[in-house]
Structures are given as C-alpha cells and as structure tokens.
Amino acid sequence: MSIGFFNYWVFIILLMIGLYTVMSRSNLIKKMIGLSLFQISVFLFYISMGKVSGGTAPIVVENITDGVAPVYSNPLPHVLILTAIVVGIATTALGLSLVVRIRESFGTIDEDEILEMKDGA
C-alpha cells in the first residue's frame, strides 16, 4: 500500500469515476451516488496525506514495551474527514429529499425528461 504514489493514483481514478457519473448520467439518484463516490475519494486523499510510514493510530500508547517512542500519524486530517463524513451524509439526505420532491412534482427523476417537459410546456 505504500508504494510511491499508488494511493494518489487510486484517488484520481475514483475522483474521475465520480465526476464522470455526475456528468454523464441523467438519473438524479445516480448523480447523487456519483457525488458520494467523489466525496469518498477526497476522504482517501486526505487520510493518505496524514499517514506516516511505520506510524500508528494517534492514540497515546502508555506502556511502551520495546523502549522506542511510537510514531503517530497526523491526527488533523482524521478530524477534518471525520466531521466531513457526517456532514456529507446530512447533505446527501437533503439532496435525496429534494429528489423525492422532484419525483412528486414531475413524475420522473430523469433530468432529460424533466427538461423535455419544461421545453414542451
């Protein structure tokens, strides 16, 4: 897992898949899913940056047996992403509830069909 930039490349691939899903799919739920993928990939990027090789989770170890002070990974990205995940689900819920309302008003959750309706009217 720590081979050079492998994590960053995976991040880029996931990010692009998410972006492509958002842009190319006309189904609104699929767009929300794409947005979630996009979000997850950014989480991976942050956490990868905070990793220190040979480090451990940033929780203080009290009894060090082998006499070597432990190396901790950076706790700051963890904090940022932890809150971002929960805020992400809250905003996703908001988006999904809007999708539900759109479906009730227009009878479809397909963006193209909604636009056609608008043009026809």
């Binding site: 898949i17 993928l37 997850i40 940056m49 990793k51 480090g55 901790y72 706790p75 509830s97 539900v100």
Partner: protein, 341 residues
Amino acid sequence: MLLLIAGTMAVLLVRNLFVATMLLGIVSFTMALIFISLDAVDVAFTEAAVGAGISTVLYIGTLALVGSQEKDQPKFAAGPMVICIAVGAVLYYATYEMPPFGHADNPVQTHVGPRYIQDSPTEIGVPNMVTSVLASYRGYDTFGEVTVIFAAGIGVLLILRQRRRRKNEDDETDVPLDKGKTGRSGSLSGLGSEHDLIPHVIAKLLIPFIFVFALYVQFHGDFGPGGGFQAGVIFAAGIILYALVFSLDLARSVINEKVILFLISAGVLLYGGVGVASMLLGGNFLDYNVLSSDPVAGQHLGILLVELGVGITVTAAMLAIFYAFVGRADLIAAKAEQEKN
C-alpha cells in the same frame, strides 16, 4: 484498492439503482478497511457506520419512493469522458510533484500536527488525539459542523413534511418498510408483520447491545476510537433497526417527532451552552480550561459535554431524516406501487 476501483466502476455501469446502492455500501466498507490500514481508526469507524450503514438506508428509502430502475440507456457520453480524462491526466501529472507518501517530513506533518501530537496528552489529558483536536483545539469548527447537521435535519423535515399525515394507516406504513428491509439483507422479506419470528427475536437480542455499544462509543471516545459523531449514528441505527423490524408506529411511540425536534436543538444548545459557560467564567468561547479549577479536568468536562451535545444532535438529526423519508412513503405508497409495477 483494486477492489475499490472495481466497485466504483460497477456502481457507474450497473443499471439497477438498487444494486448500485448496495455496491456503494460495499465501496464504503472497503474504504473503511483502507482507513484502518492508514491509521485512521476514528475515520474508519465513522465511514463504516455512516457510509455503509445510514447512507444505504437513506438511499433505499428514497428508492422505495422513486422507483429503482434507471430509465435511460447509459450512453457513452463523449464530452464528459474527455473532460474527465483530461482532468485526470493533469492530476496524474501533478502527483509527481507531491511529497513522497508516508514520509514524516512532508509539509502536512510539519505544521500544527506535531504540536497536537506532543502537547495534547499533557494539555488535554485525553489519550485519543483525534478527540482532543476535534472537541477542544478545533471545537469552533466542530460547532459549525454540528450546526450544519442541525440545519440539514431541519431542511429535510421542511422539504418532506409539508402535508399532514393521515391517521389510521398502519397497513400502508408497513409497505415501504418491507422494501427497506428487503434491500438491506436480501432474503428477509415481509418484515414489519407479526409473523416473522426470527428477525423479531434477533432484533430484540441485538438492539440493547447496539445501544450499550453506542453509549460506550460516546463516553469512551476520549480513550479509544469513537466520539459523539459515531455514537450518534450508531444510536440512530439501533432505533432505525427497531422501526424496520417492528413497524414505524412502535418506534414513534418510543421517540416521537416532537421529542426528536427537541433533541436536535438541545444538542446544539448544549454545545453552544458549554461555550457560553466558559465565556461567563472568564475564558474564551469554548475554552474549557476555566470550567474546573484544574485545567485538565476542565478540558475533560468540556469535551465530555460537547461530545454529548454532538451525539444528541446527530442521533436526532438522523432519526428526523429517516422518519421524514418513511413518513413520506406512506403518503405516496400507493402511487409508488403503481409506478413500479
């Protein structure tokens, strides 16, 4: 990692939104495992509870309302593909300028990170650095994030709860619930009725442990991975499980919507109240040192209260969102049924 890429590709390509949601849950769970290997135990915890748990329930709740088949043939979209490849190529090129992975001298590690790692055990006295940074050093940020969750909960309620619910529609209430449960575990169909013994018994056995675990995560977050965000989500998951197995009405009789509304605001007020209390005692906003005669004890007390506020708000907001979705479902259950068949 490669599993992750495969999972996301499948999410993109699969036509059935239901399957896509399940795959998204799997991707989230894989991501949680990767977070553990990257030392981010708190984040992994949150991702597993939120990404693989609650968000799947929410997507399925939505799908029960809007139908699960993607209508359009997924055509190959050239424009977006070109943009994506171009942006991806630029980013790929940029990775070669990135500092090497996992190196202790990277710019990320040399700013405030070492300060937190070295001083937080003595200043805050809490072993879990993530908790001390979250609740104390960056308490102001966290307050903002709790407010965002509060606002999102209120927003979902406003969007989905315009019409008044009719009474006496127990049968209809069960219809969308069945779907939600079916989706979560595949073979368990027809839940919410009184005849399904196995899920009832198992849920009865599990739910107390889920609540105890949530409380442990809440109050042990200072020492191990955990804290208000995770505990709130787990607690909400327990109640959601109860609602799915034993009908929503029973769950409503345990915690009804008025209580939830009260709790959403109570959590934020508790958080803000701790801040104001520390101001009244002569410190800065959210400066816990003044809460007790001993600064470290004050920090402990402050973090405990603030995390409690976070936990209450997150639980209540998640439940409010869930209730709003399911409550909406029985309004349009009949309509959704027709569309699906």
